[in-house]
């Protein structure tokens, strides 16, 4: 139940099905990851459908957005903005690799991390 749902007193649907969920993969976490990927794929389709709807509504109102998009020639500034957006997305997707490289550079280790926690806990 979400935070908003806890704030109101109207009834809400049951979100999860009763019954132990089977595990399909041997690798721990893989089942959850596959589920996340499909949820993301679903919402990618939702966004694409919404753009399609926008094009159709525009067309119905006399603006051929779809044809305009196909005919659009991007200038240098637009190309650079898009390139920056793509690089930013990739950097966020691969943020754990960035972190791993930084850890290697700083010579951080799991053991060092635990030692730091214990050290701080002792004050």
């Amino acid at each position: 139940m979400s935070f908003e749902q806890m704030q109101d007193d109207r009834p809400h649907v049951i979100r999860d099905a009763r019954g132990k969920r089977p595990q399909f993969y041997d690798t721990p976490g893989m089942d959850q990851v596959m589920s996340m990927i499909m949820v993301l794929a679903g919402d990618l389709c939702v966004v694409r459908d919404r753009l399609d709807s926008a094009e159709r509504v525009a067309k119905a109102n006399g603006l051929d957005l779809a044809a305009g998009i196909e005919a659009l020639k991007l200038d240098q500034q637009a190309l650079e903005e898009r390139e920056a957006r793509r690089q930013d997305l990739l950097a966020r997707m691969y943020s754990l690799m960035r972190k791993e490289a930084n850890e290697a550079a700083e010579q951080e280790s799991e053991r060092g991390y635990r030692e730091t926690i214990e050290e701080i806990a002792r004050g």
Binding site: P11, H12, V13, I14, A17, S35, V46, D49, S53
Partner: protein, 410 residues
């Protein structure tokens, strides 16, 4: 492959989706279609080319039955992706509808109340009803809350979820009103028993009445009842029937033991009910059908075929529902001798048979007046193929007639 053959027809009780909710729902339907049309066929070459040889090498023999096949296939990555995708599709399907329903729940409850109040048909919900454990132990086919959970007074949520969810699950193949099974059995009766005019009809395990309403349409003079163990689904069924302009009675009742008198009905039907019961309940349901039927009356149960009508690999594919989709009786039911059960319930041996009722939706899609003898025969004779929405384009029906005069005890 036919894409989007039917959109669901709107009616007054049906949840409405926003643009993005509808797009999310459509995605789950497309994902299901993709798994069936594209991933599932790959299982056969993977099995024959990789899994079977590995099994033979390890055990020195071929896999003997669906259990052997399963034990080998669960270790294969292609199968793991296939089975995982199936499960995820099912989960995100319910979730997409559920979120949409939650947004509009107060309005849906109000709409159903008004529709029900506008109908002359009966709605009977006893105060002290206890649903059987085989329905409440797990949420069947992973529908959150199952058929019986009530989240508020006069609840219809499970019905709304089922109505929209079944349309997506069936990918439109049940027709605009999700009523293909009822319509197919009615067509079957019209074709094979043209003089049969039942005056009282009972649909057992009716959920939201998808399959129930066609009987009222085909036999307008008949008194039609739908019963189900789920309170929210029969409440929704009553409202939905009113919204669609049909006077059909609904009650929360267990098909193992109803409150109707002996010899009361001319026709007792069920659609995909039996595999959601149990080893003990199913014989009792057959006995109850026999008790409820008037002499000369008919019992018809439409479900998927028994395992002995298909090869072990197809059995294995179907049996995944048992393991991965909260269908605990799915596999066991297909191993039961239904003809023997019907005989034990009192039906004469020569009045019990399995047959195939061709899918009404196929006739609709073809725009024809109905199957001719030849095409109907071809459907009936086809091999069962896993992955088609209905096996071979038709529903397997178990039919039994109650003797006009009871034979002396043999």
């Amino acid at each position: 492959m036919m894409l989007n053959i039917f959109q669901q027809a709107d009616h007054g009780a049906l949840p409405k989706a926003t643009h993005d909710e509808a797009a999310r729902e459509e995605f789950t339907k497309s994902f299901k279609g993709f798994i069936q049309s594209t991933l599932l066929p790959g299982l056969t070459p993977v099995y024959n080319g990789q899994v079977k040889p590995a099994f033979q090498k390890e055990h020195g023999r071929e896999p003997a039955d669906r259990r052997d096949i399963r034990s080998a296939m669960v270790k294969n990555l292609y199968f793991q992706h296939y089975a995982s995708a199936n499960r995820i599709a099912q989960e995100i399907l319910w979730e997409s509808v559920n979120v949409s329903i939650d947004r509009q729940l107060p309005e849906l409850l109000e709409a159903a109340k008004k529709l029900s109040a506008s109908s002359n048909a009966k709605l009977e919900i006893p105060d002290d009803f206890v649903p059987p454990r085989y329905i409440t132990a797990l949420d069947i086919h992973c529908m959150p809350g199952g058929y019986t959970s009530e989240i508020t007074e006069q609840d219809i949520t499970a019905g709304a979820l089922y109505d929209r969810g079944v349309y997506l699950y069936a990918m439109g193949y049940m027709g605009p009103d999700n009523d293909d099974m009822g319509r197919s059995v009615c067509n079957y009766l019209r074709r094979n028993n043209p003089d049969f005019r039942p005056l009282r009809i009972l649909d057992m395990g009716c959920t939201v009445g998808h399959a129930t309403l066609p009987y009222k349409e085909y036999f307008p003079d008949a008194e039609v009842w739908g019963i189900d163990v789920g309170g929210p689904v029969v409440r929704y069924a009553h409202a939905r029937a009113a919204a669609m302009g049909h006077e059909v009675n609904f009650a929360q009742m267990n098909a193992e033991q109803t409150s109707f008198p002996d010899d009361h009905f001319d026709l007792v039907v069920s659609h995909i009910l039996l595999h959601e019961t149990s080893g003990k309940a199913m014989p009792r349901i057959f006995e109850e059908c026999h008790r409820l039927l008037a002499p000369g009356g008919m019992m018809i149960h439409a479900d998927l075929p028994p395992f002995d009508l298909m090869d072990p690999f197809t059995q294995f594919i179907l049996d995944n529902e048992t393991w991965y989709n909260n269908e605990p009786f799915w596999g066991a039911m297909r191993e039961m001798d239904q003809v023997a059960l019907a005989r034990r319930a009192g039906f004469n041996a020569d009045a019990i048979k399995f047959d195939t009722a061709p899918m009404a939706v196929m006739e609709f899609a073809a725009g024809s007046d109905g199957y001719d003898e030849k095409s109907a025969g071809e459907v009936a004779d086809r091999e069962f193929t896993a992955g088609e929405y209905a096996p071979g384009g038709g529903w397997e029906v178990l039919i039994a007639e109650k003797a006009i005069e009871q034979e002396m005890a043999a």
